[in-house]
């Protein structure tokens, strides 16, 4: 039992997850001892809700990053969904269900455009999704004249302000998405292909993986989750505004990286991302609770991101060395075939 645990701990992702969990707990305990209200129901609710929309986006971002891509457009899709659902419901008078469906269909369309441009033009995803982000920001401003839209029905507001067994609905959705998509990523062969693509796109393509198709699904998933987050945010704030979710793409990417995913693709998991977002939320809450200048919050997040990347690189190199030494051991066991081969060649 102990040996199995030790073996598991030796793998990078488990090690990073344990380390991150310990740090989160330590910060939580310290803040509780210092301020006494860290574990209060009000603070826990605020802390959970503080980065919940970035968390939902981060789940989609996990899939994108594992596949070797990046999606900067989520921070613009988020207010785009808010604005579209608001326009459809408040200005066009559509009921909730069709308004939400049309909005999500448009978000899926944005993901489809992102993926198609990435696949067809073979330009780095950062450039394509940045272009999409800037375009959507302009659209968001233009179609609202910079003003917010408010006046949703109470039924719609329930999506962001309602509770399910006492838990806020956005948190319920986040947990549902994390568990479902996390399970699929870990177990479903279709999504397992992502690790192959992220590890080496060319090799994956030559092995018969439908790289373009998988990437399209993943970018559409990312845009869909950003859209859902946007709709829930509009319901939570009771308003749609172009400024909402500004820079949320960076928080989502940071959560994925801090959670142990390789930003170059090929590794990562949803559980790590959940821990990453929990870390960001706890640190932010600790800053507010302790009254420390929150400008330092970004510095701490940045530092943690760098540590996480250094750590994952360290694990990557360690694993590469382990693979090499295992190969050498096999060669040695098989009687030193390469040496004999070289001797034959010389002869």
């Amino acid at each position: 039992m102990l040996t199995t645990l030790k073996k598991k701990l030796k793998t990078g992702s488990v090690l990073q997850a344990v380390g991150l969990t310990v740090i989160i707990l330590l910060i939580g305990i310290t803040m509780q001892v210092m301020n006494g209200n860290f574990l209060s129901a009000a603070n826990m609710e605020v802390m959970a809700m503080n980065l919940i929309f970035e968390g939902i986006m981060a789940i989609g971002m996990t899939f994108v990053i594992i596949g070797g891509g990046i999606d900067l457009s989520v921070s613009a899709v988020f207010p785009f969904a808010e604005i579209i659902v608001a326009k459809l419901m408040i200005e066009a008078g559509l009921p909730i269900f069709p308004a939400v469906l049309i909005t999500l269909a448009l978000c899926l369309g944005i993901g489809l455009i992102n993926a198609t441009l990435i696949n067809v033009l073979r330009v780095h995803p950062m450039v394509i999704t940045m272009g999409m982000m800037l375009t959507l920001r302009g659209i968001n401003l233009a179609i609202t004249n910079g003003k917010s839209i408010a006046g949703f029905s109470d039924d719609f507001l329930f999506l962001g302000q309602g509770t399910f067994f006492g838990i806020n609905l956005p948190i319920v959705f986040f947990l549902f998405a994390a568990i479902t998509l996390g399970y699929l990523l870990k177990n479903h062969p279709y999504f397992r292909q992502l690790y192959f693509i992220g590890g080496g796109e060319r090799a994956a393509r030559l092995s018969g993986v439908k790289v373009e198709q998988v990437k399209t699904v993943v970018y559409m998933l990312s845009a869909l989750l950003a859209g859902i987050a946007g709709i829930m945010a509009a319901a939570q704030y009771g308003a749609a505004h172009w400024s909402h979710g500004n820079l949320s793409e960076l928080k989502a990417i940071a959560a994925v990286a801090i959670g142990g995913a390789d930003v170059n693709g090929g590794s990562g998991n949803v559980f790590g991302t959940v821990l990453g977002i929990a870390f960001l939320a706890v640190v932010h809450n600790a800053f507010v609770s302790s009254g420390i200048n929150t400008f330092w919050y970004d510095a701490v997040n940045g530092l943690m991101l760098l540590i996480a990347i250094l750590f994952s690189k360290y694990i990557e190199r360690k694993n590469a060395r382990a693979v090499l030494s295992a190969k050498q051991m096999k060669l040695d066991e098989s009687g030193g075939y390469p040496k004999a081969n070289m001797a034959e060649q010389r002869a």
């Binding site: 310990v22 603070n43 917010s148 909402h244």
Partner: protein, 330 residues
């Protein structure tokens, strides 16, 4: 494993040390929070300086929260956090009036006094708004331009359409101008879209199409430098035919342009006083007296109408130009 252990030990030590270091900071004093968007901007730094200075007079603590960018939803979350933390009061400037309604109302329902300053959220249950009355500000600017140009004043206005605050300033400006110089009139209004370069382009076109214009009123912060550049572009930045440009900002470049005589003056809001008055309103609301709050029972007494912190029209040589050019002590 060794690396992980070292990492965990280092981080734990850092956290504990930070905790010990900040332990005295959690004395039993009252804490009041200010929430802004564009945290770090000069305008809101002045507001927070006023908030801090006012808090010091009663021995209260303050903290500044909110995003460094324009994200009203992040402001809403900052209000939620301060309320959950148990601060005695929150002053918030609304990056978007509607987005803040829910958070302000929740805070008020939990008994935390909340006021808005500079940018209001009128649909919320905030106790009151502390800031510039835009009509009055525009009126002062109109009076000054009317006195300066007389009945021969022909004014162009550089503005962004659709914003209530700017509409209020323009209405006030026109009334002030009519009061001081009944023969003067506003010739045209142009949309600078809040962009400096765009302001230069549209104001240049405006001066070329309307050569009788001898004054430009910039109804918001950005376009004053663009309007001055437009006057330069048409060769009317000096001499008898000079176009007199009035700004509406206290940014350092604008103040310097007034000092150099490139702008005839600027309408200076008073963010420091917004901070001071916001704190005093919160302090009053947080401490009940024998006479309860009339609008919102359960809170201490505060004025039942908004507080206008006023403006000053700063002209070349005014001492305030130098004072505002230095960053506030925070």
């Amino acid at each position: 494993m060794a690396m992980l252990k070292k990492l965990v030990v280092s981080v734990s030590a850092a956290i504990v040390l930070c905790g010990i270091a900040s332990a005295p900071a959690r004395a039993a004093e009252e804490t009041y929070g200010m929430v802004v968007f564009l945290k770090g901007s000069e305008f809101f730094n002045w507001a927070y300086a006023g908030f801090q200075d006012a808090a010091k007079t009663v021995g209260a603590k303050t903290e500044l929260q909110g995003p460094a960018d324009w994200d009203a939803s992040a402001e809403a979350r900052a209000v939620d956090q301060l309320v959950a933390k148990g601060v005695k009061g929150v002053a918030v400037t609304a990056g978007d009036a509607n987005t803040l309604v829910s958070s302000i109302d929740k805070g008020i329902a939990k008994g935390v006094p909340i006021v808005t300053f500079d940018s209001d959220s009128p649909k919320s249950k905030r106790l009151l708004f502390v800031g510039t009355n835009h009509y009055n500000a525009g009126y002062q600017a109109g009076l000054k331009m009317g006195k300066l140009l007389g009945d021969k004043g022909r004014i162009g206005i550089s503005m962004i359409p659709g914003l209530d605050s700017i509409n209020g300033r323009i209405a006030g400006f026109e009334a002030g101008l009519a009061k001081a110089a009944p023969g003067a009139k506003v010739v045209v209004k142009v949309n600078d879209e809040g962009d400096l370069q765009k302001a230069e382009t549209v104001n240049t076109a405006m001066l070329q199409a309307n050569p009788e214009i001898n004054g430009i009123f910039c109804a918001h912060g950005n376009p004053a430098t663009g309007a001055a550049a437009a006057a330069r572009n048409v060769g009317r930045d000096k001499g008898d035919n000079k176009v007199q440009v009035m700004g509406f900002a206290i940014d350092v470049p604008i103040l310097q342009m007034v000092e150099r005589g490139e702008l005839v003056g600027t309408v200076a809001q008073n963010p420091y006083m917004m901070g001071v008055m916001s704190f005093h309103m919160l302090y009053s609301a947080a401490h009940k007296t024998q006479f309860d709050n009339m609008n919102q029972p359960g809170f201490g007494n505060v004025p039942s109408s908004d507080l206008d912190t006023g403006v000053a029209i700063l002209l070349k040589g005014d001492a305030a130009l130098k004072t505002l050019a230095k960053p506030p002590k925070l």
